[in-house]
Amino acid sequence: MQRDVVITGVGLASSLGEGIETHAAALGDGTALVVDTTSFAPYPVHPLKPLELDRQIPKKSDQRQMEPWQRLGVYTAGLALDSAGLKEDAEAKAALQVIVAAGGGERDHAVDSAILTDMRGAGDPGSFLNERLMGDLRPTLFLAQLSNLLAGNIGIVHGITGASRTFMGEEQSGVDAIRIAHARIASGQAETILVGGSYNAERRDMLLLFELGGYLRQGGFAPVFARDDAPGLISGSASAFLVLESAERAAARGARAHARLGAVAAARSKRQPGTVEAALRGLLAELGTVSAGALAISAATGVAGITAEEAAAIASLPQARRVATGDLVGHAVEAAFPVSVALAAAALSKGQTQEAVVTGAGHWRGEGAAHLLKA
């Protein structure tokens, strides 16, 4: 059994603002991008446009128990539920499955810095570390750090009692989250799935992880596919959640489909020169026939080598109009592919295109592609 899968809910938030309208407009006319080149210099970052949290997370106590990446994700998941018309549907929310692509929680930078500094003079570093961690770590911080607690908070705040699964693994977790959600609905294993990811770029602990491997661009902004002077990713705070649904169920409840999600494919190439292009070409072939003039949205990172390979793979699509998600909202790691699929859905929903292809190659591992069509 293979059933059609449609996107009935789109939640999007980024440095540009929130919602389908804002992001579709950016796709259309290239709205001025928002880049902060000073706060985290020499690393540019696309900062989140502040959210009115109360609109999606009414209880202050809930807001307090989350860190920024969780608040952003819970907020955006709420936008997706609103968009799908499911927010007040308790019965639907009891059956709703959730798949979240998540990274790790945020460190308490002040505590870490103070401990590292003071540890220099400590006679017994082990005991010193124990004492300081026992005294200085906020007990509830752990809950803001656990990867699966974004899904947990989505459940608590929005009253979803269906099961959730959290995928980890940087960019590819976002690809696989959408791939598995699509496969489960298409095969009849699930009816409706809320799937997406959230990334807070305004944190030095994650910049540190990427900079260790030399994956960050330094200096000013340059378009994703034109960073040869200083290759690397520019991270952006962004989140996207989608409500995926079987076409039958969407029709039965009279929900409007923004787009049909035709296929999602993923690969893990053993990174050598040329493997990313070959993997992406293979995935594009798996998507089926792509019409000339389709919109090609790329979740490319801007990292040296693989970005040009992704461009070459996209260039194999006939007369595709290429847009880099990173040029609009920055690179949102786990959320990069979901944001790109959400942008494609927004473009289809607004009639900007009849067909879209999404590609992405993770900064270190993983390749993915998706095909979206007019519903």
């Binding site: 959730v98 790790g104 929680g105 930078h109 870490d112 810095s113 590292l116 500094t117 540890m119 220099r120 082990g126 570390l129 124990n130 004492e131 961690l133 026992m134 770590l137 007990p139 911080l141 752990f142 809950l143 750090q145 656990l146 990867s147 699966n148 607690l149 899904a151 947990g152 908070n153 459940g155 608590i156 009253g159 009692t161 269906g162 099961a163 959730s164 959290t166 995928f167 980890m168 693994g169 590819q172 791939r179 496969a183 489960r184 294993q189 030095r204 602990d205 910049l207 540190l208 992880l209 900079e211 260790l212 491997g213 030399g214 994956y215 330094q218 993923a266 893990r268 053993k270 993915g368």
Partner: protein, 432 residues
């Protein structure tokens, strides 16, 4: 995929492919491998001991089920988690006889602990500069490129990527977390992929080697851990009146899942069937379960329904049984709701009494032990059961293993963040 004649294909009660288990592997603080673990588990031996990996001065909890026999020098959580997973997977794949070394013809589903840069690595970086340390200083040190291997060490995709390379699994490997039910979710995802017909085999692993000072302190600050450090082996006492928290453990469980007909066609030994999976979320609280046990009850009922079985078919429950006051009470109440008047006489035991709570790995470790229970006709006990809790009327198989014919096991996993996953594991079909 081998061609299977649809007319002779075996299907479950819902017309789906049967999901067979053809390989099992396990490592815990009790040792490496099925034989060593089974011997210790049925002898009622504890793997919990005083922690020597790092200083425990000033900590409320100083014990754990750490796996200390795999490395000579120092190591990080991802390195130990990868080593544990590798050993368990080698054992499981070896038993299954599926594929060739380094060429496993199936997908990889892995429950891995969330990892991040650890203190020794930050200290190592800090040691290269003078003066106060903050993240801007660390970023400058990082930009020298001298510590580049730390990136691959601490990315979330790293452990599964290395396992995929080593065993040659197919496709995009899944790294997942559903907190303390992660291992069960990895198995469930393998079952679903085989039922969808996407793959004829899956390597499902739960691994956790993440006991370091900060990890222990974080759980300690949530008052989740037992503080009855003396004697260490007595601290994990699920369902006892004096239970006071869980004991962190390490380990890995690996299962080779395979389309039953695919396994039969190649003449593989069928160790059992993953007959059903159930999962429910709990929108109640970040660390506490719904006091009415509703999500746990529904997850158990869903798993049985998915298997096409009824509560009467279950011979034994492999409990989540963490030894926290709240979990054990909720689990007992939920089981009573599902199994009714049978419950006081239905054996239920907790492997965690011996190996501690292996967290991300627990669902997979306990699934492996459940299949060993079926194969050997012996139920491992709940040890340290000396002060029964009158509020919990259960047959916990106290302190001593018990011989019993076990054909169907319900394995429970419940986690932080409202994660409830239950598996129904059964003996191989008798007349294939």
């Amino acid at each position: 995929m081998n061609a299977i004649n649809p007319a002779s294909a075996h299907r479950d009660s819902k017309g789906r492919p049967l999901v067979a288990v053809t390989g099992l592997g396990i490592v815990t603080s009790l040792g490496q491998g099925k034989e060593t673990n089974w011997e210790a588990l049925t002898a009622g031996k504890s793997g919990i001991h005083r922690i020597e990996r790092f200083p425990t001065q000033g900590l409320r909890t100083t014990i754990g089920g750490t796996v200390d026999f795999l490395f000579d020098g120092s190591f990080t959580a991802p390195q130990l988690s990868e080593k544990l997973a590798t050993l368990a997977a080698q054992e499981a794949i070896g038993q299954s006889g599926l594929g060739q070394p380094g060429d496993f013809p199936g997908e990889l589903f892995m429950a891995v602990p969330p990892v991040e840069m650890e203190w020794p690595q930050k200290q190592e970086m800090a040691a290269t500069v003078e003066g106060d340390v903050d993240y801007d200083v660390l970023l400058k040190v990082a930009s020298t490129g001298k510590f580049a291997p730390m990136h691959e060490l601490f990315v979330f995709a790293g452990v599964a990527d290395h396992i995929a390379d080593r065993f040659g699994t197919r496709g995009s490997p899944i790294s997942l977390s559903t907190a303390c039910s992660s291992g069960a979710t990895a198995i469930q995802m393998g079952v679903e992929a085989i039922r969808r017909g996407e793959t004829s085999a899956a390597l499902c692993i739960g691994t956790d080697g993440s006991i370091h000072a900060e990890a222990l302190i974080r759980f300690s600050l949530l008052s989740a851990l037992s503080t009855q450090n003396d004697p260490p082996e007595g601290a994990s006492k699920p369902f006892s009146k004096n239970r006071d928290g869980f004991v962190m453990g390490e380990g890995a469980g690996a299962l080779v899942l395979e389309d039953y007909d695919h396994a039969l066609a190649r003449g593989a030994t069928i160790l059992g069937i993953v007959a059903g999976c159930g999962e429910r979320g709990d929108g109640f609280h970040r660390t506490r379960s719904s006091p009415d046990g509703k999500p746990a009850i529904l997850a158990m009922q869903d798993a049985l329904a998915d298997a096409g079985l009824t509560p009467d078919d279950v011979d034994y429950i492999n409990a989540h049984g963490t030894s926290t006051p709240e979990n054990d009470k909720m689990e007992a109440m939920s089981c009573a709701a599902v199994f009714g008047e049978r419950m006081p006489n239905l054996p239920i035991s907790s492997n965690k009494s011996m190996v501690g709570h292996t967290l991300t790995a627990a669902g997979a470790v306990e699934a492996v032990i459940s299949f060993l229970t079926i194969a050997n006709g012996t139920i491992p006990p709940t040890i340290n059961y000396n002060v029964p809790d009158p509020a919990i009327a259960l047959d916990v198989v106290p302190n001593t293993a018990r011989e019993a014919k076990v054909k169907t096991v319900l394995s429970n996993s419940f986690g932080f963040g409202g994660q409830n996953t239950c598996l129904v594991l059964t003996a191989p079909p008798e007349a294939a």
